[in-house]
Symmetry: none
Subunit: 223 residues, 4 copies
Amino acid sequence: MQPTEHWVEELLKLNDQEEKMTDKQMRIIQSAVEIFSEKGYAASSTSEIAQKAGVAEGTIFRHYKTKKDLLLSIVAPIMSKLIGPFIIRDFTKVIDAPYTTYEDFLRAIIRNRLDYARSNLPVLKILMQEIPFQEDLKKQFKELATKQVVSRIIKVVELYQQKGTVITVPPLSIIRFMISVIFGFVMTLLIILPEAEWDENEEIELTIQMIMHGIAHPASDPA
Amino acid sequence: MQPTEHWVEELLKLNDQEEKMTDKQMRIIQSAVEIFSEKGYAASSTSEIAQKAGVAEGTIFRHYKTKKDLLLSIVAPIMSKLIGPFIIRDFTKVIDAPYTTYEDFLRAIIRNRLDYARSNLPVLKILMQEIPFQEDLKKQFKELATKQVVSRIIKVVELYQQKGTVITVPPLSIIRFMISVIFGFVMTLLIILPEAEWDENEEIELTIQMIMHGIAHPASDPA
Amino acid sequence: MQPTEHWVEELLKLNDQEEKMTDKQMRIIQSAVEIFSEKGYAASSTSEIAQKAGVAEGTIFRHYKTKKDLLLSIVAPIMSKLIGPFIIRDFTKVIDAPYTTYEDFLRAIIRNRLDYARSNLPVLKILMQEIPFQEDLKKQFKELATKQVVSRIIKVVELYQQKGTVITVPPLSIIRFMISVIFGFVMTLLIILPEAEWDENEEIELTIQMIMHGIAHPASDPA
Amino acid sequence: MQPTEHWVEELLKLNDQEEKMTDKQMRIIQSAVEIFSEKGYAASSTSEIAQKAGVAEGTIFRHYKTKKDLLLSIVAPIMSKLIGPFIIRDFTKVIDAPYTTYEDFLRAIIRNRLDYARSNLPVLKILMQEIPFQEDLKKQFKELATKQVVSRIIKVVELYQQKGTVITVPPLSIIRFMISVIFGFVMTLLIILPEAEWDENEEIELTIQMIMHGIAHPASDPA
DNA sequence: AATGAATGAGGCTTCATTCAT
DNA sequence: AATGAATGAAGCCTCATTCAT
């Protein structure tokens, strides 16, 4: 097993407040994340997790009542971070600054999401795989996505629409468009073509440009 | 079990050329697709599939050597259609027509992909779920995606770049951008918010507009 | 394993009407009865049963969904016989005969119950052990006991009370008394002191006498 | 957990002489009795007992080497009381009194056993359940039953046979008869139909009457 | 081709018991 | 004395797969 990974710290941050995690518990979580993300939840066996963690199989069940409990304890806390208050503080500040452009806003989101995804890749893979099958996760996800993410971004979009920076089409369509592009960007960089050598910053700027101005050549664009 | 679904016909088209499918075989495939897409491949049991199909447990293994064989027989043929020569014939024609705009091209792709996805939703769900875990699928997917899709679209993009319609940035970035938006659009319509009442055509036009011109208000746009 | 036992035939009689039992299924039942009655249901393991029956453990679960199912399939059908229509036909005849004495009635019951218990000893042991813990059994038992046994005996008792043969105290108390004595008699013979050499017929007659006239010496009995 | 029950005091009486019981030990015993009697020994888990007692899992094993040890420590001491010297002292006195009738003797026994059973119901349930499966218990039980109970009652019976009060049949048969009736009486009152509203004293007198004179109507009784 | 009983490996989970603290 | 984390054997059950019919 590799040395403690970044997402382990993330999980610890979330849990430490409530209870201390023992060393073994940490190793269980770490192994579970690796194996779940590699083979999928249903195809992973608790015995394999125990073995990789170097604990007895029974030990897993002392800490997590069921295998599904183990899954949720990994995936549920990450969800709030994934979706939740992404740098809301900096975020709001940025928006309030009078000279902040919409491009800056996009740049901040993309950077933030990219860094976050990079640090939590295995857990995010698990989450994406399991959301369709775990009713609890699906529900939680939808709620967070609606109440936390969309509702907040809507305000930003509307703000810039009022400022005259953004076209006045339904904000939801704009958000769908933005999220698609950003999600596709992150996926491509980290999962689909991770081995390709991207000039990350350049791609970010290009992406921002395409979100803002599309791919039509200005000269040919009478609109 | 519902009456024969659309994707069954699709599968039949692909297989009929090689062998005739018996009635039972068809029922097996149909049940398998439904169950796999509902619970995921690993969490589905062959006995449940047999039961739903109304055949004996052993019958499945007379037609498909293993459970994985059954999966591949469902998912592999669809891949060529999914990714492959999407109406390339009509496609090329369209492009060649001198008055065809890039917007028309986008419109054709979006419509085609949306219709295709709608008709094959369960199988596509399975495919998306299993690609990360089945090495064969992943490889096949990457190859098809590169050789069939990207390489063809690149030509179109380059063509329009030469025409001066599309900005001259790396075509791959443009394609990533386009695919992200289209994929996000289809997913939203069919999976994420299927119950929402979309004005489909309007959303398509809006999407095309955003791909072409972005979301920046023209007035505010000095570039 | 011993050759097919009597209670196996009993079980078969009850089940054959519905479905044929395979050879393996019979061996499973036989082993289960032996092991359950020897160590108790909760302390018996399905693997031990499978081993004794000479089948794979999985085979048990092809025929009985759960371990408890196996228990019930053994114990539930016996209950109707145990409690149910004990030779009701002969029974009613006997009673109707004008010259039948109450002693004859007792003699018939005792003989019948003793023979029945002797033939089904292991299953009856299991039943007695599990009734307190299996809610379904307890309920079924109470219902059968009340509706089938008590209600029928009550009629007989009342008949003989009218005839002036039996004292006119609450029939329920008489029945409790009779059942206690008979149950205690059977238990002693078959379970508590099976190795003692009883002169069975003599003990039966003695028991009938005590039920009818008690243990007080007539001479000393002014009542 | 309810306040200390009667049978706890009983157990304490028996153990105090040897060692002092700590508070935790008492709570362990109390919980064990409740759980054993509710689900049966084999189906009860030490961890549940620990939890109900409010002690750590390990604590049980500090006081009782094994789970079976715990069972025996509950059930073995009760056995001497159950079976043993049931108020033998008063008992002998009673008998010796010249005017004591056999009915008084029966009345004393029934009352005593009923009260005793009522006070120790849970432990007695455990005992009855486990005697068939625990060889040590079975042996101890048989020995006590023979040496303490039967041998003593035999003397009483023989005494009254000499007095001419009791019929001269084998004392063992009389004892079996008596014990059956008394046991059945207590079981019915406390376990089989506890919710029925019995007039206890009346039932006792009726039971004594039936033991002494049976259920035959005197008039019809030429013997 | 089809069946479905049979298999046995492996899955998740429970449990009595131990031991370092 | 007490704790409770840890163990690993064992328990019940599921499942993909085989094979005689």
